[in-house]
């Protein structure tokens, strides 16, 4: 089966489920999440089969202008599918909170769309991974973003969720504006929106002769136009991945959004942002003319992001907000890796980040459902209420902090390895301070789990799906930490 049909399959699945929900909804609408996850698993299996046999990679001529299966596309497609499947499973166990905030009688009557929207976002993310033209990037990005506007504000009877939705909408629209405006300037300067052509034109070997309009590149005004357009695009990508100074939306939106959606935002959406950033920026980083400039912008972004994310996380008392700042901090590390040109290391980092973040959100979701709180204090005495869950959370937090022999350390090690020698020493020092600060705020959770007295003695029940997911993700955190080859081979396999 050709790879490009898998996106159609995913969209078809979404449409089918919407219709089904409208005309023949099951009594318990949360079941839609399971069906969606099953459907996406089929899509994932098809994708993996294609990757294994290397077949179905051909793209018909009418699509090839906008679509590719080469490069990092397959990795980010699989990444989007895996994240969406996990998010849907997480939504299933999160249903009681969702019901409470969507209807007056705690019924599931208004939650149907919630379980189908992630599928559309997934289709957008997959297309984005394959997009080779600024226009198709923009369109797929919009499909993802607009779906997210709805999902973030989905708990309509919850003020926090609404507030998050409005903030995300306004700032998201602003960043979209930046992106379109930047694309327009880039088009004005280069005469094309095709990234392949842009890459060829900018490549050092071409000598500016490949593409007719660029013969006029000697004209400095075009040069500035290109740089201006590029910086606007970087700004809007910075918004996507949560890089300072475009990170302001993250804490509020992450805190207000339903927990599975927060997880989705912080993993899949961020990864897609990095995927697009790699696709757009790589030609510029590789060019002689712009390489140093783009790298410098990235280095500054990385330093600011690391500082902001880690220092703000120190004072947080709300765990969801803490994870929001931590996601900014992780983005800072990955931007540092990008600035060093280590794209594959960034992808390994993303794999480790997916494992740990989803595990943390699974546990947070459980606590939210049963204690109705996202505060760190809700984790007080978790070790007494459920020792196994407490241990899992300890491992996850140690991983996030980057304690060796966990997945998180592998990621940080790779970023430092890449950065030393290719980014300025001051940024590395900032990264060290940030990583040390990370120990403080992640260990705050461990402290709450073991040192503090629980408010209730009520044991924390873990539903079946969450239990399996948490066990798998926790074991993966350690396995990848001890044998980093696992994560590396996943990335290599997808290339």
């Amino acid at each position: 089966m050709p790879t490009y049909t898998i996106e159609f399959l995913v969209v078809g699945l979404g449409v089918f489920m919407l219709l089904w929900e409208a005309f023949a909804a099951p009594k318990n609408k949360a079941k839609l999440a399971l069906i969606g996850a099953a459907g996406l698993t089929v899509a994932l299996v098809l994708l993996l089969m294609n990757m294994c046999c290397g077949c179905g990679m051909d793209v018909p001529a009418w699509m090839s202008r906008f679509y590719t299966t080469e490069g990092y596309a397959m990795f980010f497609k699989a990444f989007a599918l895996v994240s969406t499947i996990i998010v849907l499973l997480m939504s299933y166990d999160f249903r009681s909170v969702l019901n409470r905030y969507t209807s007056n009688d705690n019924s599931c009557s208004n939650t149907g769309e919630f379980y189908t929207l992630p599928i559309f976002a997934c289709a957008g993310l997959m297309w984005m991974a394959s997009a080779t033209d600024l226009v198709s990037i923009f369109v797929s990005l919009e499909l993802v973003t607009i779906t997210f506007y709805i999902m973030v504000a989905y708990m309509r009877r919850n003020v926090g969720s609404l507030e998050a939705g409005v903030k995300y909408l306004i700032l998201g629209a602003l960043s979209t504006g930046f992106l379109v405006y930047g694309i327009a300037w880039l088009y004005g300067a280069m005469g094309t929106t095709d990234l392949k052509v842009i890459a060829e034109t900018l490549s050092p070997s071409s000598g500016w002769t490949n593409y007719p309009p660029l013969a006029e590149f000697a004209d400095p005004s075009r040069h500035y136009a290109l740089l201006f357009g590029l910086s606007l695009i970087i700004l809007s990508l910075g918004f996507k991945v949560g890089a300072a100074p475009m990170q302001l939306w993250i804490p509020d939106v992450y805190q207000g959004a339903p927990t599975p959606i927060t997880a989705f935002l912080s993993v899949a959406s961020k990864a897609a942002g990095f995927g697009v950033a790699i696709a757009i920026l790589t030609p510029f980083i590789n060019s002689i003319e712009y390489g140093a400039k783009v790298k410098m912008i990235l280095v500054v972004l990385a330093a600011a992001t690391l500082l902001y994310g880690n220092l703000s996380a120190l004072a947080q008392t709300n765990f969801k907000r803490l994870l929001a700042y931590s996601s900014i901090a992780h983005a800072g590390f990955m931007i540092m890796g990008m600035a060093a040109g280590a794209v594959e290391f960034v992808m390994i980092y993303l794999v480790t980040y997916l494992i740990m973040t989803f595990a943390a959100f699974f546990i947070l979701g459980l606590v939210r459902v049963q204690d109705d709180s996202d505060e760190i204090s809700a984790f007080d005495g978790l070790a007494k209420r459920n020792p196994h869950l407490g241990l899992a959370m300890t491992i996850i937090m140690a991983g996030m902090a980057g304690v060796p022999l966990t997945a998180g350390f592998v990621g940080k090690l790779l970023m430092f390895t890449a950065a030393i020698g290719s980014v300025p020493m001051i940024v590395i020092i900032i990264a060290i301070i940030s990583a040390a600060a990370g120990f403080y705020y992640y260990f705050k959770i461990i402290r709450a789990i073991y040192w503090h007295v629980p408010k209730t003695d009520k044991p924390l029940e873990v539903p079946c799906i969450s239990k399996i997911a948490i066990i798998i993700l926790t074991v993966a955190t350690i396995l990848v930490g001890v044998i980093p080859n696992i994560a590396e081979n996943i990335v290599k396999f997808s290339l």
Binding site: P404, L414, F416, G421, I432, A436, Y450, P484
Partner: protein, 469 residues
């Protein structure tokens, strides 16, 4: 074989978590590890498996030719056994207690037998979380604050260290510790400083020492024994097998700074130690102070490059590891018998507990450096190594002057140790010491084991030195 050394304690910890009898399993694992360690050393086994191909990281374990890792491994398994044996877990917390001890031990063993910088660093860090939890949950006094302070200090030190190590890897192009060689000259100074600060923080080098004494005072006895006795030696081990190897000129560049800092460790912290009013704080500070001597041996190694200085450092590391572990073990017993560690609340304990008094006196003498005990052999070698290859015609160099000043540390040790002994065991009995009982059979075993080792190594230092060519 070598992998088993790490896996036995980890698997035992997992087993304990899932309900195996805690004390028995832990003891079994500790004994098994001693046996396995001896076999592995005799067989000189190696183990290697690749875990990350793009950076060429291997999980490779083995003993370097310089033999330091053999001595450190012996120290680790012996102290682990004593730590598991001594002290008693609080009611209902046996799982956490014993699995933490085993995990700390696994981390220390792993760090000492790794032949790859990645795992060398990683295994040491593995011990951080159980230490944090143990101090924070089962410690004494301001345990939470102390646990925080310790963790942040150690995490910061580790991060600095990590960057230093990565710069080394970047230059050499391999994580393998067998490939270590002097790096490019222009980087040596930076790397050496990073390594001195990084490793130094982990070994409580002045001025990064203030975490150590409160941490050891607050920590449950086995953790203090393992950390002060074994884990802390990681930093010194690292400075010798990594720092000196990759940046000999850089270390020489920072030698004056190192000398000043280590003298601060010996004299400054020594004077602080004299002022302590609690046994545990005194022991914690004394352990910080004694690190100064080992740094002095490293300074001598950098200065004159003699293998004698290296032997001195390693012998003293071993001797100090055993003696400080024994001290903390006995201090814990004193508290168990009398309910207090305040010097002015104790007195005359020797009447009620003569064995305890004898053993504490023995280890006190050892840490002062009485001939016939292991520490004496180490310290005397350190002082000699400062003058190794020195000709009177040269005049006194910085290292020689530092050595002469450092010798006064012995006097300081004598002051605080003898004073502590007098306050605890002699004089009039207090209400706390009147009804105290002497050590039971089980309590004697770890202390006597450590005491015998101190004596054997003291009388026949070659038992350790034979491993060091």
């Amino acid at each position: 074989m070598l992998l088993a050394l790490i896996l036995i304690p980890i698997l035992a910890a997992v087993g304990i978590y899932f309900g195996a009898p805690a004390r028995l399993t832990a003891l079994g694992a500790a004994v098994a590890n001693i046996v396995v360690a001896i076999i592995a050393i005799m067989a000189n086994s190696v183990f290697s498996v690749e875990v990350m191909s793009s950076l060429e990281i291997n999980l490779s374990l083995g003993f370097a030719k310089d033999g330091i890792s053999i001595v450190m491994l012996l120290l680790a398994v012996i102290v682990t056994f004593a730590a598991v044996f001594s002290g008693s877990a609080p009611e209902g917390r046996e799982k956490l207690w014993f699995s933490s001890i085993l995990l700390i031990s696994a981390g220390a063993i792993g760090a000492f037998i790794s032949r790859d910088l990645f795992f060398f660093f990683a295994f040491h860090e593995l011990a951080l979380i159980p230490t944090f939890l143990m101090i924070g949950m089962l410690g004494r006094g301001d345990r939470k604050e102390v646990a925080w302070k310790t963790t942040i200090y150690l995490a910061f030190g580790s991060m600095v260290l990590l960057v230093g190590l990565l710069m080394v890897v970047n230059d050499i192009g391999s994580f393998s510790m067998d490939a270590l060689r002097p790096i490019a000259a222009e980087q040596q100074n930076t790397v050496a400083l990073l390594l001195i600060i990084g490793f130094g923080t982990l070994v409580s080098l002045f001025p990064f020492h203030s975490w150590a004494a409160p941490a050891y005072a607050s920590a449950p006895a086995p953790v203090a024994m393992l950390h002060a006795g074994v884990l802390k030696k990681f930093g010194l081990y690292g400075l010798i097998v990594v720092g000196y190897k990759v940046a000999p000129d850089g270390m020489a560049h920072w030698l004056p700074l190192l000398l000043v800092l280590l003298l601060c460790n010996i004299i400054w912290v020594g004077l602080i130690t004299i002022n302590q009013k609690r046994v545990d704080l005194m022991l914690g500070n004394s352990s910080v102070m004694h690190m100064g001597y080992i740094f002095l041996a490293i300074a001598a190694l950098v200065d004159n490059g003699s293998s004698f200085a290296m032997q001195a450092a390693v012998l003293l590391m071993f001797a100090h590891g055993i003696s400080i572990a024994m001290s903390f073990c006995l201090a814990d017993r004193i508290e168990a018998k009398t309910g207090s560690l305040e010097l002015n609340q104790l007195g005359g304990l020797a009447k009620a507990a003569p064995t305890l008094a004898f053993l504490f006196g023995l280890v006190g003498m050892a840490s002062i450096g009485l001939p016939g005990l292991a520490n004496f052999a180490g310290e005397i070698m350190v002082f000699f190594s400062g003058f190794e290859g020195w000709e009177p015609a040269d005049g006194l160099g910085a290292v020689q002057i530092a050595t002469i000043i450092a010798i006064w540390g012995v006097v300081i040790s004598a002051v605080y140790m003898l004073r502590a002994f007098r306050h605890i065991f002699q004089g009039d009995t207090s209400s706390r010491t009147e009804d105290a009982t002497d050590l039971g059979v089980c309590e004697k075993i770890p202390a006597i084991l450590l005491a015998v080792i101190l004596l054997v190594v003291g009388i026949y230092p070659n038992s350790i030195l034979q491993f060091l060519p």
